[in-house]
Structure formats: C-alpha cells, structure tokens
Amino acid sequence: MNPAPTNSTVAAGLRNEVLVSDVTVSYNNGTVAVYDATFRLQAGSICALVGVNGSGKSTLFKTIMGFLKPAQGSVTIGGETIASAQRLNWVAYVPQSEEVDWSFPVSVWDVVMMGRYGYMSFLRIPGAADRRLVEASLRRVEMWDFRERQIGELSGGQKKRVFLARALAQQGRVILLDEPFTGVDVKTEAAIVELLRELRAAGNIMLVSTHNLGSVPEFCDQTVIINRTVLAAGPTVEVFTEQNLARAFGGVLRHFRFDESTIQKHDGRTVTVLTDDERPLVFGKDGHVEYSQRNGREEVVKQRAEQEDDE
C-alpha cells in the first residue's frame, strides 16, 4: 500500500484524545438512551464499542459527533469542544451502509472529495493539494480504478472502502466507524483492519461499533462494553472477558462451550471451528480469549504455557 496521506505524526497525535465524561443522553420522547457514560481514548488506539441492540452505541456515536447534545456531562476531543474539533476537521465518520442513498448521482471521486470540503473556501473549489490527497486516499484503499463509477455500482466491500477513503482524505484524528464489517468479505475485512492499524500507528483514534465479537480481540486494543451505561472500559485484554460479555449480552450470545462439546484433550490444536459469517469468539480454559493467529502473540502463548506448568 502507498504511504499514508495523513500528516498527523505520532508527536502531533500525543495531544490527541477522546474524553467522554459522565455523559447522559436522552431523546425528545424521553428515552434515556445512555447515562453516566465515562471513558477515555488515547492517541494511537483502536477501540471497539460493543453491546446488544439498543444498548446505545449509535447514540454514543451521534453524541461524539455532536448531533445529540448530552443532557449531562461532556465530550471533548484533544481538549477541544466537539464544535471546534469539527471546524478543525478532526472528526471523520464512516457511515453505516443503510444510511447512504446509493442511487445518488455522485461518483466515487466526488464522494472522496467531500472529505476535503472542510478545508476549502465556501465555494468548495478543490485545489491541486485536495486532488492529490483524494488520489492518494483512493489508491490507498485500492479504489482508484473505480473513481468514475456512480457509487451505487459497487459491491458492499467497495462501498465501504470509498467511505474509508473519504475519512482518509479528511485527515481526521478521530475516525468513527459504525458497523464497518457488515456485508464485507474476509479479504476486505483484513484490508480494512490493516488500514486501521496503519492509522493507529500514525496516532489516530478509531472508534468501531461492531457486533462481530470475534474480530474485536484481533485488532482492537481498547474495548468499551455498554448497555445504556459503560459496563467496562479499558484495554481489550482486561475488559474483554467472558464475565463482562455475559453481563452485557445476557443470554443472547451463541455459545460454543468446549467442555460441553465433544472436543477432547487429545484433539489438541487440531480443533477447527468453521464459520461462514462472523469470526467465532473462542474462550480458553481459564476464560481467556483464544486468538486465531499465534503470530505476533508469542508472549501470550508463552505466558499461558508457563501458567499451565505452574498448575
């Protein structure tokens, strides 16, 4: 992939943080969707936002984007209020596919250029720098060849990548992704995850709402579990436990218990879990998360082997 078009360096990203403190949000009809929510995200992190349907994920997103005013508490980004963070183009948003009118007469290029509008004068006439950034963003998500297409004439994964490219072109410090993996195949999911990791390395903050629990420990270093209020927030390794998830989801998760299943000890590592849709979430013996890849997690494997020896 091409070098990052974002110029936020790690140094600049250090001041970057999202602070949600004591936020309570209610709708016009009186529903209190979220109450007393508090968490903090630091520069260079990918944070998963998980919870059942109606737990307030989208509400929290809308609050961080300033569409809903909290009845109580506040949200700040890099020490700024939401309104000034928006004027500084710090907040980028990748919408859920269902929110977009795909028959709209705009091309892929037009959509990505919309990411640059915040930097232009009120007439929104793109300059050479804007065009360069749009091109770089499109190439980075490998959608350059599709730039002339009307946005409806793309596959689900390609559509996702167009809006990711728009967030890249916007050079936001904080990128909010609502359900980025619905309707996306394994290959595109991997590409998106790879891109998010690069952005994390550049000091950006990504907040991802997802129902795909299996993928959370794979690429999110932070997790916020909500059910109308924050049940747990912090590093994924600490927060993403069977107990916490059981608390958040109650009985709604599909379980595959190895001790209740026919899997025996002699099966060892030859156990294979196949799934056509979402990545399965597998908890090990002591309730810790099993990862699909050992690469890059050598210390985890070693630590667990030592624990086993101790017993």
Partner: protein, 290 residues
C-alpha cells in the same frame, strides 16, 4: 398562418424571456428537491403562498414578500409540528398547506382586490406589466446565483448531512437556506404557471434529468435544458391554440419525462427490457457484465 408571427409581439417576447428565466431557476432547484425527496414540500410551499399574497395586498407590502413569508411559514411550522408530535411529516404537511391555502381563499373573497384569482392560481405569462418582469428577473437571477454558488454544500447536505455536520457545516442553516431558495423560486414562477402547477416546474425537470445521467453536473444542465425548451415551447404553442400558457409548459415537461422514462439509454424502460432479453439470449445472468 405565419410560424414567426408570435415573435412580432412584444408581449410574446416578454413571455418567452420570463418563461426561460423561471424555467432555469426552477429546474436547478428541482434537482435538489428530487434528490432530497422534498417534492411534496414544493407542493406545500406553493399552495401556502396564497394567504401571504392576500395579506401583503392588504398591508400594502410587495406581494412577493408576502408570498415568500407565508411559504416559508408553512415549511417551518411543518418541521415544528413534526418534531413535537407523533404525526409523520407528509401528513403534517398535508394538513398545514391545505389549511393555509383554504385560509388564503377565504381571505381573497373578503378583500377588495384588482387581482384575478385565476391569474394567481394558473398564472398569466401573456401581458405581464414591465415592473413585474423586472421583479421576476431579479428574484430569479438572485436565487439562481445563490443556488449555483452553494451547490456543493447543498448537494452534500442532501447526500450525507451527517458528514456535512462532522466537518462543521451548519446543516440547520443549509436546511433553511434550501427551503428559502425553493420558496423564492416559487414566488418567481407564480407569474408563469400559478400556484397549482408550479410544483411541476419544481419536480419534473429534475426527475427527467435523474433518469438520464449519473452525474450531478450533467443533471443540472439536462434539467435546465428541458425546462427552458418546455417553457419556450409552451409559450409558443399557447399562442396558436389560445390555451393556458402554464398548462402548455407543464404538459411539455411531462412529455419530456415520459420520453426519458421510455427511452433513457441506461435507466429507461426499453433499455432495461433489451438488456434482460439480450442476457437471456446469451444465457448470462442479468446484472453487470463487462
């Protein structure tokens, strides 16, 4: 009969000129209305201008100002009632604009006026006083200028208001701006086609263009082109058949739309039928090929 005879009359030249201006303004706005899904809003605002016209006449205020204010009042009060009750927007709109229209009709019968209700309802392009021509020209040109200058913001507002907000655009302001522009274009078009038919000017050209292209820039040109053609054609035809000018204009626009619906190269009914048949013959599933 002489085909050039309409052009010998000043009132015909004026009608053609005003028709073209009104056609362009409404066509450009129609592109936004069609994409935003605000067609009914166009209808509502246009009916709601009637009480404003009558009240302005009573108060001695220029009629366009009265019309603009009561049109905008309809849009704003619809938004308010919708967000403070459980009734859906289209229903609220139906209640509000018919109520305002009825109020206008009652007021009209109670007020001494040199205006003909028929002219307000159906427009009168033939024999427009000079002051009125200037008025229409100024309102039309101003509306067109603002709309075209801010077309990218307005398009973004229609397409993805969430993104518009996230880059710091004031979407509430854009919402009212677009409503005001619609109200202004209606005020400009009243002279030509009247209250009842003005919604056609605000919907049909955009709809026609939407069938023909996937690019917003081209959509603007196609809509404006078809609208100007229909306006000029409508004025010209009405000279010979001695029929209602506004109705002739709208009829031509509807014809354009029907033709596009049938024969549009990509989205037309015939084109999709041919594609299906060709696909069947070749034994390839329909959809994207090559």
């Amino acid at each position: 009969m002489n085909w050039l005879s309409p052009f010998q009359y000043d009132f015909m030249l004026a009608a053609l000129g005003v028709g073209a201006v009104v056609g362009i303004v409404c066509a450009v706005l129609s592109c936004f209305l069609v994409l935003k899904g605000w067609s009914l809003m166009g209808d509502a605002i246009s009916h709601a201008v009637l009480p404003g016209i009558v009240l302005a006449h009573v108060a001695g205020v220029p009629l366009p100002i009265g019309a603009f204010c009561s049109g905008l009042f309809c849009a704003v009060s619809t938004g308010f009632i919708k967000s403070h009750s459980r009734v859906k927007e289209d229903t609220v709109m139906g209640v509000v604009f018919t109520g305002l229209f009825a109020l206008g009709l009652v007021l009209f019968t109670k007020v001494e006026s040199d205006q003909h209700l028929n002219h307000i309802l159906f427009g009168s392009l033939l024999g427009i006083p000079r002051a009125q021509i200037i008025q229409t020209g100024v309102i039309g040109a101003g509306t067109l200028l603002v709309t075209l200058a801010l077309r990218r913001d307005l398009l973004l507002f229609c397409f993805d208001p969430a993104h518009a907000r996230s880059i710091g655009l004031n979407t509430a302001r854009l919402n009212y701006l677009l409503l005001s522009l619609v109200a202004l274009s209606i005020v400009a078009a009243l002279q030509a086609v009247g209250i009842i038919l003005v919604v056609a000017m605000l919907v049909t050209p955009g709809c026609f263009a939407y069938l023909l292209t996937d690019r917003f820039g081209r959509m603007l040109w196609l809509a404006a082109g078809s609208a100007v053609g229909s306006c000029l054609g409508g004025v010209y035809v009405s000279f010979f058949i001695n029929g209602s000018t506004g109705a002739c204009i709208v009829l031509l626009q509807s014809t354009c739309f029907l033709l596009a619906l049938m024969f549009a190269p990509k989205r037309g009914l015939l084109a999709s039928r041919w594609r299906r048949q060709a696909a069947l013959v070749e034994g390839v599933p329909t959809g994207k090929r090559g």
